[in-house]
């Protein structure tokens, strides 16, 4: 069922990772990605991997959940690995058949590339799994606040984003419902050639669009009748505050960055 898609889903919890300020988590994710791309040798990878493993452990997100979130990009990982394996011009030949040469260096880069993608996605999944969409956009809005000075509509953008995020599950549910209703009238969404399939989507798309517009209209009315008029002078129900745990986490992140840069210098 469509509902079982887990990419970008929030799993409520009350762990250290869940409680961190969303801004801390956003900055840490960015740091983590930078560090991941700076890592060169096996020791740096090991360090970054340990960091990820500990974070996942602390967040109590089940490994199975992370793995199922990785499933959609499995193909991407495989293609990257195979291309790296085939097109790497290394010295130490392991295997040669027909016109294909596989080298030790090739195997090594293929593995590191695959590992890098897996760790990249696992890290960002951890962010979305432990941070509610509302917190996430709130954090983003605060982080981007300085851009208001150069007239970037930060508040409007983040409001649009949080509304969009809020309605993704609703729309998925709605799609499921309408699909079932049309199936009950004999619709078939996965048979026939491309044109037939496209035509079969019409009974799904028309009601879906209509309901999306209706929802947008209702939401706008509801917001206006509660005096929403943009971000000017609007206060927050939950004011984000940086606690000691946030500062400590950020310091750990910076230490991590320094460590990996040092290891990179040493070629490890």
């Amino acid at each position: 069922m469509l509902k079982d898609i887990t990419l970008g889903q929030y799993f409520p919890g009350d762990t250290l990772v869940h409680r961190l300020d969303p801004r801390t988590k956003l900055v840490m994710t960015i740091l983590y990605i930078v560090v991941l791309f700076l890592a060169k040798g096996p020791i740096s990878y090991l360090a970054v991997f340990l960091f990820l493993a500990i974070s996942i452990g602390v967040s109590r997100i089940r490994l199975k959940t992370i793995l199922s979130g990785l499933k959609p990009i499995l193909i991407l990982i495989l293609i990257t690995a195979i291309l790296n394996l085939l097109y790497n011009r290394g010295e130490t030949v392991l295997l040669r058949f027909w016109r294909i040469t596989i080298t030790l260096e090739g195997v090594f880069t293929a593995l590191t590339m695959a590992l890098r993608i897996v760790m990249l996605i696992a890290g960002t999944l951890l962010l979305t799994y432990t941070t509610s969409p509302l917190q996430l956009t709130d954090g983003l809005e605060q982080l981007l606040n300085p851009l208001k000075k150069i007239h970037v509509p930060v508040h409007e953008l983040s409001m649009m984003m949080s509304i969009a995020l809020r309605f993704i599950p609703t729309l998925i549910e709605e799609t499921d419902k309408i699909m079932n209703a049309q199936k009950a009238r004999g619709a078939e969404f996965d048979t026939g050639n491309l044109i037939q399939k496209a035509k079969a989507m019409l009974p799904l798309l028309v009601p879906l669009f209509i309901s999306a517009f209706r929802r947008a209209d209702e939401l706008a009315t509801a917001m206006e009748s509660r005096c929403y008029h943009g971000g000017e002078g609007r206060t927050k129900l939950k004011v984000l505050t940086m606690e000691r745990r946030d500062w400590i986490t950020l310091i750990v992140g910076l230490l991590m960055l320094a460590l990996v840069i040092a290891l990179r210098r040493l070629g490890l």
């Binding site: 079982d4 079932n180 199936k183 009950a184 078939e188 309901s211």
Partner: protein
């Protein structure tokens, strides 16, 4: 002979194996015969909608079987197609599924998917519109120009037009005013009487369903906790109230009278029954 519809040990678990796992149905057994008018009642979230979506193979049981005429509904794609036209399911708020340019085309969508020929389809559209009391003049309008109640009828007609053996309606009167509700109920009863088909009708309103169902099945937390004729079901006033259902007002009154020591029979659910019972008491009193 096998019953028209038979459900054995049906269990359904949503999102199995995820943190959102939820057991919606548990070991449900159920049988429906031709010509029955079955009411399904139960509080919010008791699994009614989940249950009926198994009847036309929209949901696959986690375990258990659904048999139509003694044959599994899930055996092959052809079978599923056949089952979907034989068990017509009208969803909650069905007006949100309308999509065609005209009401006529929308009602014709189901029959068209059944690959019927043109004249047959046209005839069924007219017949279905008549069953739900939809004015033929409205057939050439856009479904989006109809009123809420008319949209609801058009959507129900879209399922009736497939001439299902079993018509399943999930809260067909939700969100309508009392008059619209009465009209839809009257139409469905007329339909049931005319085609002598089987109707399965989900509702929250005991008051409504008590008047016309030949049988009631009561859902509670994913199980059928009671199944029988209305007179039998309404004997259990306390149990029904314990699982969060309100019994018809007159049933409640009779239960209170009985609690006060008046010897009125149990299981009364219409004004007429109550009147007869009370008059009978009075008559008995005078004679003594």
């Amino acid at each position: 002979m096998a019953p028209l519809l038979e459900i054995r040990k049906l269990t359904h678990i949503y999102s199995q194996g995820t943190p959102f796992e939820h057991v919606a149905l548990k070991d449900v057994d159920f049988v429906a015969e031709k010509g029955e008018f079955i009411g399904i009642i139960g509080h919010t979230g008791s699994g009614k909608s989940t249950f009926v979506q198994h009847l036309n193979a929209l949901l696959k049981p986690t375990s258990g079987t659904v048999l139509l005429d003694g044959e599994a509904v899930f055996s092959s794609p052809q079978r599923i197609r056949q089952v979907r036209s034989r068990v017509g399911l009208v969803f909650q708020y069905p007006e949100y599924q309308l999509f065609e340019e005209t009401v006529r085309a929308d009602i014709a969508y189901g029959p068209k998917n059944m690959k019927l020929d043109k004249e047959e389809i046209e005839q069924r559209v007219l017949e279905a519109a008549d069953f739900v009391g939809l004015d033929p003049e409205l057939l050439d309008k856009s479904p989006f120009d109809l009123s809420g109640g008319q949209k609801r009828r058009a959507a129900i007609a879209g399922v009736i037009a497939m001439r299902p053996d079993i018509l399943v309606l999930d809260e067909p009167t939700a969100g309508l005013d009392p008059r619209g509700r009465e009209e839809i109920i009257a139409n469905i009863r007329r339909y049931h009487a005319r085609v002598n088909g089987t109707v399965i009708y989900i509702t929250h309103s005991m008051e409504d369903i008590a008047r016309f169902a030949s049988r009631l099945a009561v859902f509670c937390e994913g199980r059928i906790v009671m199944d029988g004729v209305p007179g039998e079901i309404f004997r259990h006033v306390e149990e029904l109230e314990r699982i969060g259902l309100t019994v018809p007002g007159i049933t409640k009154v009779m239960a209170l009278l009985r609690a006060r020591g008046l010897p009125v029979p149990e299981g009364i659910y219409t004004i007429h029954q109550a009147m007869d019972a009370l008059l009978g008491l009075k008559g008995g009193g005078e004679n003594a």
